[in-house]
């Protein structure tokens, strides 16, 4: 091995497959270059480095995708993934979007997953390759789900509550679409899902939904991003060891939260001193995935406790020796087992 006189063994290299190590280290180094100490962000370089893919209305592994503007006032874009339609119904890829958007409610129930990509509120888009791949997988995994990946506004250019507002706009849009309804009762069977900051957004959109009378079938949170002023044990013990440092987490919160606030803001710490009371609200069941080598796990576990205390159903998947980003590549037991759990979670009440 090169550099044999190095004393520090890189622990993260030992616990993940090599290609995962390459992928996540690459993100770590690239992201490091984009954050500036004054809180600004090199957006141009970020977009250049982000590996993106176009939507594809020709079937690939039985899935088609197209980009669609959900709201012209805010130019909110989403990438919609569907099971490929019958070629007898749609001869040309360019007609797929029109065909899908005009469908009547289907008698056979199917889940709709509104997906919020991760990136600590600052990175990635719905066209990022890592997320395009994941969303495509979800369509097939859940037996023909429609997945809607939201291109929400990111920080530091757009702070709280922009991302939540965009999520809410998306949910309202979905609830007005006949083609997303299914089953004998022609209902919208919608799940809110996301990883990292996306998981955080899913939570807050769900709160707003149940406060406004929109019913959510379930929340799926993968390593969701929560925090607080206090430094927890996991944060201190794992700081810098597995791709993530506490300093970065702090930067992203400072970039997202309103200026002059701290990490006990309810957006960051929903069950903290400034949190909103969830008891008595019809909050959806939650599938919460926590990686044991994620330094923010104490906050995620506290989130689970908070939900339970408020009387809400939480299914906790605590993955030993999993790091952040384990769900990007299908090369570990963590990936396959978590996908299986997501599938049962989504399909069980259909």
């Amino acid at each position: 091995m090169a550099g044999g006189n190095e004393v520090n063994v890189n622990e993260s290299r030992m616990v993940v497959p090599l290609n995962t190590f390459v992928l996540i280290s690459n993100f770590k180094i690239a992201y490091n270059m984009l954050r500036r100490p004054d809180g600004s962000f090199d957006r141009h370089l970020a977009e250049f480095l982000d590996r993106k893919v176009q939507a594809n209305a020709s079937p690939v592994n039985g899935v088609v995708s197209f980009d669609h503007i959900l709201d012209r006032q805010t130019n909110l874009l989403a990438r919609i993934y569907c099971p490929a339609p019958d070629p007898a119904d749609v001869e040309l890829p360019q007609l797929v979007a029109i065909y899908e958007l005009q469908k009547a409610p289907s008698p056979n129930p199917f889940p709709v997953i509104i997906f919020f990509h991760g990136g600590s509120f600052a990175h990635s888009t719905s066209s990022s390759a890592i997320y395009d791949t994941l969303c495509r997988r979800l369509v097939t995994l859940c037996g023909g789900a429609v997945v809607i990946s939201i291109d929400y506004r990111r920080s530091p250019e757009h702070r709280f509550p922009c991302a939540y507002d965009d999520g809410w706009t998306a949910l309202k849009w979905a609830s007005c679409q006949p083609w997303l309804r299914s089953g004998k009762d022609a209902k919208l069977r919608v799940f809110l899902a996301g990883d990292s900051s996306g998981g955080n957004i899913a939570h807050h959109v769900a709160v707003r939904a149940v406060q406004s009378g929109i019913s959510i079938s379930g929340n799926i949170l993968l390593n969701p991003l929560f925090g607080g002023n206090k430094r927890t044990e996991s944060e201190l013990k794992l700081d810098g060891k597995y791709f993530v440092a506490l300093q970065d987490r702090d930067w992203y919160w400072r970039a997202f939260l309103p200026e002059g606030t701290d990490r006990d803001h309810p957006a960051c710490n929903p069950f903290g001193p400034n949190g909103v009371e969830l008891e008595g609200l019809p909050f959806p069941k939650t599938l919460l995935v926590v990686a044991s080598l994620d330094l923010t796990q104490d906050w995620q576990l506290a989130y689970a406790e908070g939900l339970k205390k408020a009387g809400h159903e939480v299914q906790l998947l605590y993955r030993e020796r999993a790091t952040v980003g384990f769900y990007f590549l299908p090369n570990t037991e963590h990936y396959h087992e978590v996908m299986k759990e997501i599938k049962s979670f989504v399909r069980c009440d259909l």
Binding site: G3, N8, L18, L23, N32, H44, I98
Partner: protein, 489 residues
């Protein structure tokens, strides 16, 4: 500390899939050979610890790498290596300061209720257009005529505000022309030039093309004292003042610049550019060459040559078209760089219905972007006429009359590769500057994408126009072909 359970270090026996790329990483946008994974991982660790060490001695990571120019981030191995050579940092600051935190864009509002009804009628019109195009392909002109009449009745219901509703009218007219066998409207060079300059003003497409090509040419001309730019279609020469200016400001002083402008009536433009060059202190000479006479261009020994083609190459693609001989001519001029900008769309498919459909969706995206730009009414209207001509040509014409034979960048890549050119990647510097240009001049919705070293301008993720740079392969076989003028393959 123990073995990684997922991937023990390869032994000498593990040589089977040596040259294969890792498929999982490829699926998320990164190209790394499986056999290179360990090496790349080592380099990542090295880069990481180097950055940490630099930070410890007072150089923050973002400053360290902000002046680096990045190329092709998909090729992780070379990206990492190029960063490693940037450390320790060199002192020249970037000329551009990055403006992040910009004010939010003005919203594009439209009445939501009205939207629903209009969208329904618009969608119906699209279905009818496709059916009509299909009937034309099958030579059922009677059906085509009745569909056109039906569509004309539907028109008053369509909002002309944006998107597919608006552009459908142009396609409807084009179909009508085609089956009525009406001759193409006559064009004059003056009209062409006027419409072109309105199109230039109305949206960032041409500005993006010029800007990106200039950036690549500038980088290629680094260190050259005598440079020669050959513009395959000079028009108003809108591209060149910016390049002349940039050359004037070059550290170490400007080179001597020769500009050859091909096209009708280029002399006046040449004079204006000469004036401008003189005013900024760039030694400049201009040569006018008649349209289609690339063969009469001469290059001098010792000068660095850049050949610039903005929306020109696709005009040469008809069955009897001279694309191959033009590319050979270009190669024989031994350019240091060939910049190619083309519409990123497939409007050259042999089947009429396919072509029609592609064009319908491409131009509706383009018109959508024009509308959102909200530019002054006059410019947008003239820009639409400019585009309408392209639409007419694609829909109504065949054979050598059909010149708007746009092809996607992927196909140009193959064609240029076969003609003896290899790609020069446009890097993060060009990307950054194109992004900033967009932010300054355009509405929200535009983006710049990087794909395999080419940059494209996109509207809501749909690529509209693609810019790329090339150089002749140093291949001796290719050089032989050029010299001896016979085809080996």
């Amino acid at each position: 500390m123990g073995r990684n359970p997922y991937h023990p270090k390869p032994t000498d026996e593990d040589s089977s899939s040596a040259s294969e790329t890792d498929t999982l990483l490829a699926g998320v946008g990164y190209t790394v050979r499986s056999s290179d994974l360990h090496h790349v991982a080592d380099r990542l660790e090295k880069l990481d610890s180097t950055i940490i060490a630099a930070a410890a001695s007072g150089v923050p990571p973002e400053f360290l790498c902000s002046s680096a120019i990045h190329y092709n981030p998909s090729d992780l191995a070379s990206w990492i290596d190029s960063l490693l050579t940037e450390v320790p940092p060199h002192s020249s600051p970037s000329l551009w300061t990055d403006a992040t935190c910009l004010p939010p864009p003005s919203s594009f509002s439209i009445d939501a209720h009205r939207l629903g009804k209009e969208e329904d009628a618009g969608i119906r019109l699209v279905h009818l257009l496709m059916t009509c195009a299909d009937s034309i392909q099958r030579d059922d002109l009677v059906l085509a005529r009745s569909l056109i009449d039906e569509m004309r009745l539907l028109l008053p219901l369509i909002g002309v505000g944006y998107g597919i509703g608006k552009v459908s009218i142009f396609f409807l007219d084009a179909l009508d022309r085609r089956i009525s066998f009406l001759p193409q409207p006559t064009k004059t060079v003056l009209e062409d030039e006027i419409l072109y300059s309105h199109f230039y003003e109305a949206c960032p497409n041409l500005k993006f093309a010029h800007f990106t090509a200039n950036q690549a040419i500038l980088e290629a001309f680094n260190g050259c004292d005598r440079v020669h730019v050959i513009d395959l279609s000079l028009m108003h020469g809108l591209q060149w003042p910016a390049l002349i200016q940039a050359l004037a400001l070059r550290p170490g002083g400007p080179p001597a610049l020769r500009l050859t402008g091909i096209g009708p009536k280029t002399a006046k433009v040449g004079l204006r550019l000469a004036e401008f060059a003189r005013s900024v202190g760039v030694p400049f000479t201009f040569q006018a060459v008649a349209a289609g006479r690339l063969d009469s261009v001469r290059v001098k020994p010792g000068e660095a040559v850049a050949i610039n083609s903005v929306l020109q190459l696709h005009l040469l693609l008809s069955e009897t078209g001279p694309i191959d001989s033009v590319l050979t001519l270009i190669r024989e001029l031994r350019p240091k760089i060939l910049t190619v900008v083309e519409q990123d769309a497939d409007h050259n498919k042999p089947a009429f219905l396919d072509r029609f459909t592609e064009a319908l969706f491409y131009y509706s995206t383009l018109f959508d972007s024009l509308a959102a730009g909200g530019g002054d009414g006059g410019c947008s209207a003239a820009a639409e006429v400019y585009l309408q001509r392209e639409i007419c040509n694609i829909v109504c014409c065949e054979g050598s009359e059909r010149v708007e034979r746009h092809e996607p960048m992927g196909r140009w890549r193959v064609r240029l590769g076969r003609a003896g050119f290899e790609p020069m990647h446009l890097g993060s510097n060009a990307f950054r500057q194109a992004s900033m240009l967009l932010k300054l001049f355009s509405s929200e919705g535009y983006g710049v994408e990087e794909v395999e070293g080419c940059l494209s301008l996109s509207w809501h993720g749909r690529s509209l126009i693609s810019a790329s740079a090339w150089r002749a392969r140093a291949d001796s076989a290719v050089a032989l072909v050029a010299r001896h003028r016979y085809i080996i393959l």
